[in-house]
Symmetry: C3
Subunit: 423 residues, 3 copies
């Protein structure tokens, strides 16, 4: 089995942006590992308040110094060119050039990552050290890029179930050569898809690989009619560094996603941070916008913008670890498992306890002080299967691990003591 890090290594060199060949190449690679369907949405297509932008292509870029040497070469590091920069080929003084240069003075050896999608300009991103070393003189700025009508590309890996209900996982694929933001999450989604392909599941799982913001907006716009099927969802961002998991609730706050993710993280015994919904972040801003309001929670480690290497050339392989990535994939799988097994039941023997003994569900000798956890779970399931509580609620209320609550419910359902209701 390919590792998360190997996947990231393969995807790392590609220069991605919100449209264009970078994203398409990325999807080609991903589709070697999982079944992937790609969609092209034409430039100019109206998507809610937005329009699909022109497609950006970049072939080469560099700055020629007064002595003829080249710096800021796109072919060396694709962060050197501000994403969506326009074509330029001009001579200019160092002073004028500097107006088109971004650096990180606090981290003089790092190259920043900058974008300007919705305004036509151009810029280079350099290390502060490089900038400081430049002598006065005549420079040439060269960017061989183009903007033209084309399309925005996104992809779905769908694993259909029979319940008529959908769970989405979403992450963004528009960032160039950076690891934690966000090849980490791309790799987690690929590994998750590989596992889903080998699993029986009653719900449909739809894994979305999108350009950030405009991609999520495009997808929501094109799929508005079927959003009502979605009972839960997870947005993934910056999932690979060595920090503990941060789980941000959905705007709905008490949705199935919120309940399930909490139980998953608790039952896995992970230390994690739980944040209320905030509309400052990644694509959950769209999924949880007030008119969409999907039950989508966000999984990350250090939130974007809060780790030092965020949006710089230092967000490289040093920042991420296979263990962090593997753990995140496990969380997602456990979330799937939890949703697969969650149900709402009605206790059909709700007046007093049913006689468990005659059904073989009770220890024979009474009076012993034994830690019979499954009997405890059985009693909790019986007591709260009143149609108002699902198994997640019962696990939460009782403090019993979800898997034990599920076992208890399955024994009781099999015996006809509790009855599944659709919720």
């Amino acid at each position: 089995m390919i590792s998360h890090l190997e996947l990231i290594e393969e995807l790392y060199p590609i220069c991605r942006s919100i449209t264009g060949t970078g994203v398409r190449k990325t999807f080609e690679i991903i589709s070697k590992y999982i079944p992937l369907e790609t969609y092209e949405v034409e430039t100019g297509t109206k998507v809610f308040d937005w329009e699909v932008p022109e497609e950006w292509a970049i072939h080469d870029a560099y700055i020629v110094c007064p002595d003829g040497s080249k710096i800021a070469q796109f072919k060396e590091n694709n962060l050197h060119v501000m994403s969506y920069s326009k074509r330029i080929n001009t001579s200019l003084t160092l002073g004028l050039l500097k107006e088109h240069i971004h650096t990180l003075p606090d981290h003089p050896s790092w190259i920043p990552y900058r974008t300007m999608y919705y305004d036509r300009s151009w810029a280079f991103c350099l290390s502060q050290n490089t900038l400081d070393s430049l002598p006065e003189g005549k420079y040439r700025a060269y960017i061989d890029a183009s903007h033209k009508n084309g399309s925005l590309t996104y992809a779905e890996a769908v694993f259909p179930g029979t319940s008529g209900k959908e769970i989405i996982f979403s992450t963004y694929v528009c960032h160039p050569s950076m690891c934690n933001d966000n090849l980490s999450s791309v790799s987690v989604m690929i590994k998750l898809a590989q596992e889903l392909a080998n699993k029986n599941h009653r719900h449909t799982y739809r894994l979305l690989f999108l350009p950030e913001t405009i991609g999520a907006i495009t997808w929501l716009s094109k799929n508005e009619k079927s959003l009502s099927k979605i009972i839960a969802g997870v947005n993934l961002t910056c999932t690979g560094n060595r920090a503990p998991i941060t789980f941000m609730k959905s705007r709905q706050k008490t949705s199935i996603s919120d309940k399930a993710m909490k139980i998953v993280l608790d039952d896995m015994g992970l230390l994690y941070k739980e944040n209320d919904f905030s509309p400052i972040g990644s694509d959950e801003r769209q999924y949880c916008s007030p008119g969409i309001n999907l039950p989508v929670v966000t999984l990350m480690r250090t939130p974007p913008g809060e780790f030092e290497e965020y949006h710089t050339s230092a967000d490289n392989f040093d920042v991420i670890s296979e263990d962090s990535l593997r753990e995140m994939t496990s969380v997602c799988l456990s979330f799937v498992d939890t949703l697969e097994k969650n149900n709402t039941y009605i206790n059909t023997y709700s007046k007093c306890e049913p006689q468990l003994g005659k059904r073989g569900l009770y220890r024979k000798t009474g009076g012993q002080r034994v830690n019979q956890v499954s009997q405890t779970a059985i009693k909790w399931v019986l007591s709260y299967s009143d149609g108002h509580n699902d198994l997640l609620d019962i696990a939460n209320r009782s403090g019993i691990r979800m898997e034990e609550v599920v076992s208890a419910s399955s024994v009781l359902e099999h015996q006809g003591i509790i009855m599944r209701i659709s919720k």
Copy 2:
């Protein structure tokens, strides 16, 4: 007046089980002290998902050792025979005999208490020390017991009131010679009944003495029609040891019982533990089953199963104290008192304060900084008698002792300022 401990001493020697002469003898003794009505429900009667079991009778039991000596003599300690053991009279090796013997290896001198109501088998309970001392050889196991059609016996002490509303107290009488579990609660209920007999009360108080589980189920099944009268209830279990009180809420969580018990314990200044409802315990499992869902809270000291001597021969007079028992009876009486005095009122002068001065309800000289608690209580009662809050709510909100809130309301009601509404 007879003490709790004297009552327990009188009841202690009897071998009780869920049916049979032990329970009947127990009721005979109790009825010397309080008016008690007993009910017999025939073997085979369907009670919800259960059936009233056959009646068990035991006359004698012992093990004859290879040297002819007798051990595990029922007549010495009725815990020696597993409750509901079937008749046996057989010779067997020590090896085979051991399959029918329960001990407590961690407490080698204690005899365990074991039951097996719904499966026909037999067993002896010995101290580990005794078991260890047995030589190889031929043994005879002798249990002179029988199972036959008969009936299950329960008893009620009813103190009728006029309000049409009922409060139940319930405890179980099926345990043989053990003190904290549960003769403690039987003695508390007897003392409570003696006090109720001498009290004016508007509500009906129904004190239930039942075999655990099957007795509560039987009673609920036979009284299903009139459960709607019950506005509050207390289940008592293991109330006599020297630990602080544990108060477990009802499944309803915010019922009158829950509010009143909290206020009683707070106003008595007791240190106590407050637990959310859990369906693992005693007869509240039936009273609070989802289809019954009565407002029944549970009073105990150390919860059953959590004290070392639980279900062993060590649960004897060393474990309990008259002080603990007396305090528990006081809590029950105070609970009665609180419910008797609780009402919901409407302030008929709800627009601004009524003029208390002209009704003699206000200190004459203004401006003094005096701690006039009853005026404080009057103001709280006026402010929150809006039909949504009963006196319990007002006591809880204001932090004022219930008795002061009651005094204030009674003065205000007498003056026609607040009006009782039925709730």
Copy 3:
């Protein structure tokens, strides 16, 4: 501009009571500074459960000692006579005189403040030291006072707006020469009125100067029909000493007043105490009585009765400070400001985020980690402008200062992205 302390100095000497010339003179002085409308309500007028009392007039009062010297002279300190004392002119022994004397044994040099409005009696208030120095002998008690039909006087300063909604500020003017209780609040209201006179505002602000209790009851009785216009209110009491602010919630608990006052105090960075509503205090007892239940919160520093000098001659200029008073006025003004700017909006682009960039509301270069607070505020306003949350709710949820939330909403409203709804 006149200071708070100068206002208090001017008002201090007057002997006020719940009716009579003291209150009228007070209003004359106040109306030099702000537009004030006074109202007279005749003795005997029925106001809810109360009646407007007779008017009390006092001209002189003193005690003549055996040696002919005068003590407890009203003209030296108007606290010497219990408010509403009846006319007396009688000779009596020291023993009998003492039955009509109040002192403060714990503070032997202080004179207490006492009242007896609804019972006809008479009394003097002395320092304990003076009382202790009195020799046996014949004394003459002389109070030249009268009770006759007249009227109760209250005053309003109204600053009309156009929204049809009203905010009230209320304080009481019936206390004689004491500073913190309550000339402090009178001065705060005057300064607030001066500011309101120079402000544009959409809501109507009604500032009430009333005798405590009977005045508030009278005002509520006469204005019952228009109470529904009141969306918020503040009662002021004891606002001038050097302690931190205490903010007591309204009986409604979650009204606009409650939300706004919390945000004002938080955004001003003040340390303050927040209390739940309690019906023990000042005129909020009437405003928040269950049949009136206005959204009126209370602002004070040390609550009345809890500071040492309360209702004594020591409640003088040593107790209060201009800084405390000025801060309180700022809180009131900020409360006004907050209510003026609060609105409930609907995000008309609620499906995904609107494209802020094309409207000039987004930084052009993406990827930079800048602390762009106003964009954060914009996103919170968009996310929670769903018709259920007003700006106060959004400020509270986001932890962003109200003024930033307001700025964000105003930009978004101006661009037609959010729409104001009346709430």
